[in-house]
Amino acid sequence: MSQAAATDHPTAAPHAGAPRILDREPLVLNNRSYSWITNRICGIVENKQPALWWVLFVPSVLLTGLTVFCFAYLISTGVGVWGQKQPVAWAWDITNFVFWIGIGHAGTLISAILFLTRQKWRTSVNRAAEAMTLFAVMCAGLFPAFHVGRVWMVWFLAPIPNANAIWQNFKSPLLWDVFAVSTYFTVSVIFWYIGLIPDLATLRDRCKPGLKKVLYGMFALGWRGANRHWSHYETAYMLLAALSTPLVLSVHSVVSFDFATSVVPGWHTTIFPPYFVAGAIFGGFAMVLTLMIPVSKIYGLGDLITPKHIDNMAKIILLTGTIVGYAYCMEFFMAYYSANKLELQTFQLRGLYGPSTWAYYFMFSFNVFAPQLFWYRPFRHNLWVVMFVCMCVNAGMWFERYVIIATTLERHLVPGSWRVYEATWVDKYTFLGTFGFFMMLFLLFLRFLPVIAIGEVKGVLPQSNPHHEDHGKEGVQEEDLMGYPDRHVPREAVA
């Protein structure tokens, strides 16, 4: 059809005033071949790790040990070693839970929502982002499990008959959370694993016979790239994306229900679900960039994770950060507009004259002001600026949860029970240690699994389109099919 269009309108110049179509920015730079991509990504797994890997891995393991120690101390001594005292019964632990679970959301957004919206640039980052999701959810799960007090009783959360004939209270948002988070983790694992199968086959086919080949072979399930398999595989992948999209939106909504369905002033608001979801995606993208920029530099993946990718993610951070900023302001407005004294007082204490206003100012400036730098294109292309903003967001999103959770409870309905919350060393080191746990898992992932989805990146190369040479133009098939073959102008010619 487009060929016909080309002959109907021979090489004549486009009509004056007709919009010109720019060439798409390539998703993989320098016209890399299929085997270059295979070699480069598999090389990370097959070659010796750089010294920096060990420099990061050893402290990560030690920090993981710190968390293990803190939890052991908690169990052996009692929950009093944490800083929670009435009325602040939820503090660092729940803050950390919400923080980590939010980080995970960017991975699912990239793997599911960007897949459904046909954002092909996702292929370079989705594998690592999904891995990050799993590891973040693992860190998140630790906190509520230990928060129950008697962690050996945590199996009471599971809906299985027990000797007391007592079932869970299914009307409680806390139980919804158990279902939401465990479903989220399970579905994310399935999604991630299905995506990994073809790449595990690639690693299997490159290994010398031995234990490694057997292991990669086992997990690759005997994949042989047959199109009759790809056909079902692509359907399965799309189904999982379609399932994960409402799932990811539901997970943080349900997390926000933990607060929103209570009657605590400052928590009982309907804005919470969208506000939490936007915040989760915001914080998650910051973490994706925090991990992927160094990975890309250290392992020389600059042709696959291009400035275009970083630019796109920076824009998402700008968008979601601004949504979060809107939510902060709207919360204040609604507190005023509701004419509810307690609600208004909560927000005045949070932001104006409470004991923890410093946390509110950190939150607001890190989450709302810092990302505004991304309006300016050169900042989105300067990796130092991008890393700086991401670090601000990482910290800011933790403060957001701290502000919502701890500072709200500090000022209870009954002034007689007011007290200022102070975290103990156990709170602090437990949280610090989870960063080690997270990093340790991510480094092991880099060491043993392909960090970029090899098959998917190959699929977005121009030569992977069976019709790509039919018009003598590379990488612009979509526009060609629209019938404007002569209106392409190289990007450089316009700049």
Partner: protein, 199 residues
């Protein structure tokens, strides 16, 4: 000299590019072969059409898997939280399961407490759907399997890097030792190889 019996699996032909593979698939389809496949490092857009492969049935499995999840969640919650089953005359279920309504949060024990059960119904729908997707996929493509005759071919390992292959199986009614080979060569296949498997 080995005396092991060999079984012919089929012919394997290699192609240079996605485009060549696509057109080759159209030729094989038009020649009327049934038991054949193409092998590529990534899914190729439009290849199902070029091969004449029908749409996957997987969504149907997943739909019913998901519905099962919804029902499981509904039964689990109503049975353990409400008097719904007694109200509709199926109290025997509650007796068998030894459950009784949990009265908390001043919420009623009749069926209209249902909205509180939606989140768990939603989550289990997704959970069951996802498991059905995984196991339905594996069932439909017949994996995992420990080995396959194609892995005998040294050249075939390229399929997961940058190799594009067509394999026509000997089980196909139109297969012939000479005819199929020359057919594959005619449509542009390179390194045409007879793949044999130990019995």
């Amino acid at each position: 000299m080995s005396t092991t019996l060999k079984r012919v699996h089929g012919y394997l032909a290699e192609f240079d590019s996605v485009k060549d593979l696509y057109h080759a698939a159209e030729h094989v389809r038009d020649a009327g072969y049934q038991r054949w496949d193409v092998h590529s490092p990534f899914p190729i857009h439009g290849m199902d059409h070029a091969m004449g492969v029908k749409r996957s049935k997987l969504p149907w499995f997943v739909f019913f898997g998901g519905m099962t999840g919804t029902c499981v969640a509904f039964v689990l919650q109503t049975l353990t939280q409400t008097t719904f089953w007694s109200d509709i005359g199926l109290g025997v279920l509650q007796t068998l399961a030894e459950t009784y309504p949990t009265v908390v949060q001043a919420k009623p024990t009749h069926i209209w407490t249902l909205p509180a059960f939606f989140p768990v119904m939603f989550e289990l729908t997704i959970l069951f759907s996802a498991f059905t997707t995984l196991f339905g996929l594996l069932g439909l493509i017949g994996l995992p399997r420990l080995n396959h005759p194609l892995f005998v071919s040294k050249r075939f390992a390229k399929f997961s890097d940058d190799g594009f292959f067509v394999c026509i199986e000997a089980r196909d009614a139109k297969f012939s030792q000479e005819g199929t080979r020359s057919f594959l060569e005619k449509i542009g296949g390179k390194n045409v190889e007879l793949v044999e498997d130990d019995i």
